[in-house]
């Protein structure tokens, strides 16, 4: 009988220690990692020894896909005191209004009309990249459909057009967007862009220079000569 009792006891495992370990692991992951941002294409950034961290607030990130499509992601203030006025969603809505009105001024024949619901839907997008003409229909789609459209690199209506980089009187859509971001009204964002911290260009390792150069050239035309390039960390021995 004594034997039987011992057997029964041995099936019970004390999970307290296990629970301790898992809570520790959980805490570690919660504190050290950041959430993945949804991006239309996954790019592997090249590595460099530079240790400057990419800022999390007041940043316009330009993503260049390997086939030359351009997407922009805007982050506003993270400081809770300023987040009400210039938080990420507020600044995105402001920039969208500015960019669309500028586009309508330049293209009086093909005006783009957006409702308040469209603007709200735009503010929630992490990364956008459709031509102005496709914007209203894109913003009225369901989120699943939006993801489907924006990740399809073969479509013609995906990616912000960056061709015709000749005349600042007739800026292309990418330049309209960048200018709208620059003149969003938030001085901190403008200062960050002037210093070069506010613009980050992200491109894949294998992307040919001619494609990235096209984007950099556009920025140069806009006199945004200082900017950051997104890289991963490496050591001198790699």
């Amino acid at each position: 009988m004594g034997k039987v009792k011992i057997k029964r006891k041995s099936t019970l495992i004390d999970m307290t220690a296990m629970s301790d370990v898992t809570v520790l692991l959980l805490t570690f992951f919660m504190l050290t990692s950041t959430f993945l941002q949804k991006e239309p294409v996954t790019v592997m950034t090249p590595s460099s020894v530079s240790e400057i961290k990419v800022p999390t607030s007041n940043l316009a990130q330009v993503l260049v896909s390997p086939n030359g499509k351009v997407f922009i992601s805007i982050a506003g203030e993270s400081d809770p005191e300023l987040a009400g006025e210039w938080g990420t969603e507020a600044i995105r809505a402001e920039i969208l209004k500015k960019a669309v009105s500028e586009y309508n001024r330049l293209h009086p024949n093909k005006k783009v009309e957006l409702t308040d619901a469209d603007v709200a839907s735009f503010a929630k997008l992490n990364m956008f990249g459709v031509p102005f003409q496709a914007l209203p229909s894109f913003l009225r789609m369901s989120q699943t459909d939006q993801d489907k459209v924006i990740t399809d690199m073969t479509r013609n209506d995906v990616g912000i057009p960056i061709d015709d980089n000749v005349d600042l009187e007739k800026p292309n859509e990418f330049q309209i967007w960048m200018r709208a971001i620059y003149s969003s009204g938030n001085d901190n964002l403008q200062a960050a862009m002037k210093k070069g911290e506010g613009i980050a260009v992200k491109a894949d390792k294998g992307t040919p220079y001619s494609i990235v150069h096209h984007v950099l050239d556009n920025l140069q035309t806009l006199k945004m000569n200082r900017f950051s390039l997104m890289t991963a960390l490496k050591t001198e021995n790699d």
């Binding site: 629970s19 990692s33 992200k202 294998g206 220079y209 050239d217 140069q220």
Partner: protein, 247 residues
């Protein structure tokens, strides 16, 4: 069995109740934590992106005379490119590393063709690759740049040693900032012989090579460098080099 237990409990009811430890089963808690960990592992990233800051010249046309031309003896031109196959896919070597190459020449390009056979006689173009340090020794293009910037690097090394020992200030941030100011002074010290690097990228060069070239500037503490567009002379020299060195 159960009966015996029951009877046991019944007999020493008071004593047994006192002795029975309160036991909470943590299994569901562990289950839930595991689920949460899985969620965090899948939905978050540990990789923090770094940035490399660059300043490009304006696109406005500058008069030739206004341009501050680099002294010929100090100039070194790097042309980065990546070998690609007919489909445009990057070629890799046996180790799986992308075939990134750097052509470089010092001073002015030398494209004399005295005998008129259509081939450049003595091209000063050379070919190198990007390689990391091995055992603290520079290799590849890094060695060439390192040798050109020896004076600055020697001074920076002394400074780095002081920075490591926190000789400027025991406070870490203050130590860093004083080091950065002093290092910048040395990098921009015009009494030392410092190279001027002109980085050019071929259209097919991968983005990695361009970043790699900019990175070499940081590693070798070169303060004077610029990104330029590749021109005809450069492509002629590269084609000539490839033709001459074809096996």
């Amino acid at each position: 069995m159960a009966q015996i237990e029951q009877s046991d409990k019944g007999k020493k009811k008071k004593g047994a109740q006192k002795k029975i430890p309160i036991h909470v089963d943590f299994t569901p808690m562990v289950d839930m934590n595991m689920l949460l960990i899985t969620f965090f592992m899948l939905c978050t990233t540990m990789i923090k992106s770094q940035t490399l800051q660059i300043t490009l010249p304006t696109n406005e046309k500058v008069e030739q005379q206004d341009m501050n031309k680099a002294k010929e003896s100090e100039a070194i031109t790097m042309i980065v490119t990546t070998e690609r196959d007919a489909k445009g896919e990057i070629k890799h070597d046996e180790d799986g590393k992308a075939l990134n190459v750097v052509y470089y020449y010092e001073g002015k390009p030398n494209i004399e063709d005295a005998d008129g056979d259509g081939r450049i006689d003595n091209s000063n173009l050379n070919k190198e690759v990007f390689l990391g340090n091995e055992g603290g020794v520079q290799r590849g293009i890094r060695k060439i740049l390192h040798d050109r910037n020896k004076q600055v690097l020697a001074k920076i090394d002394v400074l780095k040693e002081q920075w490591r020992n926190r000789e400027f200030s025991p406070n870490k941030d203050k130590n860093d900032s004083i080091y950065n100011v002093k290092a910048k002074e040395i990098r921009n010290d015009s009494t030392l012989t410092r190279p001027v690097v002109i980085i050019k990228a071929a259209p097919e060069a991968s983005w990695e090579t361009v970043i790699g070239a900019l990175d070499e500037m940081q590693i070798n503490q070169i303060s004077r460098y610029q990104i330029d567009n590749i021109n005809q002379v450069d492509s002629v020299m590269i084609l000539d080099y490839i033709a001459k060195n074809r096996k």
